[in-house]
């Protein structure tokens, strides 16, 4: 006898699990106890067999239905009740044929078997959805509205819960064990998928409306990126220590979340003469008292690409800057390549030196 535990590759295990599941389906008309007895330990055994025979279970054992029939015969159990006694409908014959050819296909492509095994793990989710869809369909028929079922009213809640319980019980095989019901179930499932498609279309209208609220970023943004801070330089390329910005409508250019920094810290609150809170004063002091500090000194994981505002940048062209005498400072290149040399006509000189600050508060 060989060792009791062998490690198998995951792909083989999936194939084995799928095979065992198919066999259990074939035995589904037997009492659950018998099914458990017959398939107990089967996974371990088939895994060993699969590892020896290169994963080709169907080549070695035949299709799950052939295997199950042989198992029944040898165990002295009756053949499947869907057999000769009941005249099988053309639909169930077709599904049986499809199942056999699918089993052959998965025998040739183990990945397909893995994919199916994965989908099968999602089955309980489908049971829930199916129950909800069934309630939806029923409600739509009764009320003539396709707006869907939301458990607002007691009646709808009861309807949804009942439908879900029935759907799950059906899925677990506790209801409708009789084989004659299976084709009916296939038709019902397909109908519900159509309901789901109709439902998703009618719900979409609602979703787009509410979705547009979220797509609009709050505060100041540039090409979709949130603008956390603005560093201003005067015409001589020197830092402006404090500036207030307004839009064309006279609205303060600043986000409502002005008082909260990137780490959730409170940014030094700026007020005007009347004591009103200002959201449009730049640069904002994000880290500590110095507004030109762009890196959190306490943060070890600083982004190495973080741009740092230079002490000064290139001054504007001489003809646009009347007081162009004092440009002896260090001339660091402009921060980004796309930064234009500034619209020369409209740029006015800063009133007093480097500090172009307070505009009268508009309220």
């Amino acid at each position: 006898m060989s060792e009791t535990t062998v490690r198998f590759p995951a792909g083989v295990a999936d194939g084995v699990a799928a095979y065992v599941r198919e066999v259990r389906v074939e035995l589904a008309d037997l009492p659950a106890e018998d099914v458990d007895d017959l398939t107990g330990g089967m996974e371990a055994d088939l895994s060993e067999l699969a590892a020896e025979s290169g994963g080709d279970l169907i080549g070695r054992l035949g299709t799950p239905s052939v295997y199950a029939a042989e198992l029944r015969a040898a165990a002295g159990l009756p053949a499947r009740v869907t057999g000769p006694r009941r005249q099988r409908g053309s639909l169930s014959r077709a599904t049986a044929r499809a199942r056999v050819s699918f089993a052959r296909l998965t025998g040739q492509h183990p990945w397909l078997r893995s994919a199916v095994a994965y989908l099968v793990t999602l089955r309980p989710a489908w049971w829930l959805v199916r129950g909800y869809l069934a309630a939806w369909a029923l409600w739509s028929m009764l009320s003539g509205s396709t707006r869907g079922v939301r458990p607002h009213s007691f009646l709808q809640l009861v309807l949804v819960l009942t439908a879900i319980v029935i759907s799950v019980q059906l899925g677990r095989g506790r209801l409708g064990q009789r084989a004659g019901l299976r084709p009916l179930l296939v038709v019902a499932n397909s109908a519900l998928v159509v309901v789901a498609l109709v439902a998703s279309i009618s719900v979409d209208d609602v979703q787009y409306v509410s979705g547009s609220d979220f797509s609009q970023p709050v505060g100041v943004s540039l090409d979709g990126t949130y603008v956390r801070n603005i560093y201003a330089y005067d015409s001589e390329g020197k830092r402006i220590s404090s500036v207030r910005l307004f839009t064309q409508d006279g609205r303060p250019l600043g986000g409502a979340d002005n008082a909260i920094g990137p780490n959730g810290n409170e940014i030094g609150v700026v007020r005007d003469g009347s004591g009103a809170l200002l959201t449009n004063v730049y640069p904002r002091a994000l880290f500590g008292p110095d507004p030109w500090q762009v890196i959190d000194p306490a943060d070890p994981a600083v982004n190495p690409d973080q741009w740092t505002p230079p002490m000064s940048i290139l001054p504007l062209m001489p003809n646009a800057t009347p007081g162009s005498t004092a440009s002896g400072a260090a001339t660091t290149p402009a921060p980004t390549a796309s930064a234009p040399p500034a619209p020369s006509k409209s740029s006015r000189p800063a009133p007093g030196g480097s500090s172009a600050s307070v505009t009268p508060s508009g309220g």
Partner: protein, 112 residues
């Protein structure tokens, strides 16, 4: 030839399985492998599993599960007193049947 052998194996599968399990406890696939190693190549996997199950239901075998830390559990079968009695009785039947057949064939082949 295969079909004929398969039919013959079916007739003696109970006895063959009992003999293998009596030698040493085993799980389903282990029993299949030992039957094949003994020369019964035509034995079907599912037939062996079903036979093990039927013999267990008839009270001729014991069954126990060996847990595995790495994979699914393994189901072992062993023989019990009743199974041993069945084995002895059926072995006797088989031997007498086999010798009857042997004599019959020797007579027929002697004439040919």
């Amino acid at each position: 030839v295969d079909v004929e052998t398969t039919q013959l194996v079916k007739g003696v599968l109970d006895l063959a399985v009992l003999a293998v399990v009596a030698e040493e406890d085993g799980y389903g696939y282990d029993v299949v492998r030992r039957l094949r190693a003994a020369g019964l190549d035509e034995v079907g996997d599912a037939s062996v599993y079903g036979t093990l199950r039927r013999l267990y239901n008839a009270g001729a075998l014991t069954s126990y599960v060996v847990p595995s830390e790495e994979g699914p559990h393994r189901k072992y079968y062993g023989i019990n007193k009743q199974g041993n009695e069945t084995l002895v009785r059926e072995a006797k039947t088989w031997r007498s049947f086999a010798s009857t057949m042997e004599n019959l064939l020797m007579t027929a082949e002697g004439k040919a």
